[in-house]
């Protein structure tokens, strides 16, 4: 739990600063995509192609090597009306997705070069000077976040603006966000704030509000970037109950060991058995 609170401490940083994170409150997102643009301007991320996707106003199509923030748009029938009436019979949900900076980050764990690493702020960052594009992190991420950039070969994703936060600045996306749907700060503070916000929404009859990724007890040990959602996570393209794959790694190694032994035994038997 202690390490979960500060994965940085578990990653070799003596006396790290507070764990920093994002709380993305989708209930106030206006789908403006300033977060996407601000991220690209700051990080020099290439454009992602000019494709009309027909997914409501989402023409980004999710996170990728060239989109480290991606705003999802969901048009759906509104849930049964809250006591004092709702906006009508239609709902338009918007959510700015981003790397979760997992407490137990599969991408980081599986990276064979150490390109992916845990920063002193407990965020998870790819070091572009190290990554050799082995691609392993990509299927490892339970959220489908990290991705290889075509023509470049390396893996890219949100760095939580490692260069900025190191200088005490707010990440570019959070800074731009007009409605503060994206809030940046010390993770424990954000968790408190999020709970209050959820309670307030429940009070106001918005019973569909739920937090996602805030629980340090979940399958990834809690996200460094978590969300307030208004529907099930999968509706936004998020896994409902992600588990870091490396949780099962000890078992996997044991199985592999057993298989290896079996293999060796089979060969020994093949030679020994009959030549006797």
């Amino acid at each position: 739990m202690d390490n979960a609170a500060s994965p940085a401490a578990a990653s070799g940083y003596a006396d790290p600063p507070r764990r920093m994170g994002f709380f993305t409150d989708t209930s106030v997102c206006i789908g403006c995509k300033a977060c996407e643009v601000a991220c690209k301007e700051w990080n020099g991320v290439p454009d992602d192609g000019f494709n009309l996707l027909g997914m409501s106003y989402d023409n980004t199509g999710g996170l990728s090597a060239n989109s480290w923030r991606a705003v999802a748009f969901i048009e759906q029938p509104a849930p049964p009306k809250a006591p004092d009436g709702g906006a009508g019979d239609l709902r338009w949900l918007m959510m700015s997705n981003v790397c979760k900076h997992c407490t137990h980050a599969a991408c980081l764990d599986v990276c064979p070069t150490g390109a992916l690493f845990r920063t002193e702020f407990s965020t998870v960052v790819v070091q572009e000077d190290i990554c050799n594009g082995c691609g392993y992190c990509i299927p490892a991420c339970p959220y489908g976040v990290i991705d290889q950039r075509e023509g470049d070969g390396r893996a890219w994703k949100c760095t939580m603006c490692y260069d900025r936060i190191g200088d005490g600045l707010t990440p570019a996306c959070a800074k731009a966000c007009p409605t503060q749907s994206i809030q940046y700060g010390p993770l424990d503070e954000l968790r408190g704030r999020a709970e209050q916000r959820q309670a307030k929404l429940h009070e106001a009859g918005e019973t569909s509000a739920r937090l996602y990724g805030n629980d340090p007890g979940d399958g990834v040990g809690g996200d460094g970037a978590f969300f307030l959602l208004l529907d099930e996570p999968e509706v936004y393209g998020l896994p409902p109950d992600p588990v870091v794959t490396t949780r099962d790694l000890p078992k996997m190694w044991r199985t592999a060991g057993l298989a290896a032994l079996t293999m060796a035994a089979a060969v020994v038997a093949a030679f020994v058995g009959r030549s006797r």
């Binding site: 070799g12 403006c32 601000a38 002193e120 572009e128 000077d129 490692y162 800074k175 731009a176 966000c177």
Partner: protein
């Protein structure tokens, strides 16, 4: 040699506090040296977003004669440091390679652009203004009341421009007798 070995992450894994090679041990020299480029800019100008009338505050960072970042000005009581996607794209607006940077000229009946010296262009435009006025000047109306104008010259635009610019535009055109001066307020 020793330095080389010490900088080898495996060595650091084995000797430091990060045996699994997740954090401190694998940080590269580049990562360790990262700073925000806004911190190292030569100059910072306080500006205002050029797109819409909300008028969000911007800070413009320049390094070596190039705009390296434009972001919201947290001091602005209008915008509190925030910018919408357009405001956030301001750096591209200014630095885009697609911006026109030299005068383009299309001669009558021409099929393509040609280059033209800026001073020459200005001179040619001045001549054309003078000629249009001379050819289409209206001194008086049918009843002899003064008109002092020409209807041969039109102008459109102003909402993207500065007050000082609009002021000079209106002043000059008015003195030239051009009245057909319009801008986006009409549409």
């Amino acid at each position: 040699m020793r330095r080389l070995i010490e900088s080898w992450p495996v060595y650091r894994q084995l000797t430091g506090m990060d045996p699994l090679g997740r954090g401190a041990a694998v940080k590269s020299a580049r990562s360790a040296a990262l700073t925000a480029r806004t911190q190292t800019a030569d100059t910072v100008a306080r500006s205002v977003c050029p797109y819409c009338a909300v008028g969000c505050g911007q800070r413009v960072y320049v390094k070596d004669g190039v705009v390296t970042q434009i972001e919201g000005d947290p001091d602005s009581p209008v915008s509190r440091g925030r910018l919408c996607p357009k405001g956030s794209a301001s750096k591209s607006l200014v630095t885009s390679p697609d911006r026109v940077r030299t005068v383009r000229y299309r001669r009558p009946y021409g099929t393509g652009w040609e280059d033209l010296d800026l001073d020459t262009a200005l001179d040619m435009i001045a001549d054309r203004v003078i000629a249009a006025r001379a050819a289409h000047w209206e001194d008086r109306d049918a009843e002899g009341r003064p008109l002092n104008r020409t209807l041969a010259i039109s102008s459109l635009g102003g909402a993207t421009l500065d007050n000082e610019e609009n002021y000079l535009i209106k002043k000059l055109f008015t003195a030239l007798g051009a009245v057909q001066i319009e801008n986006q307020a009409r549409i």
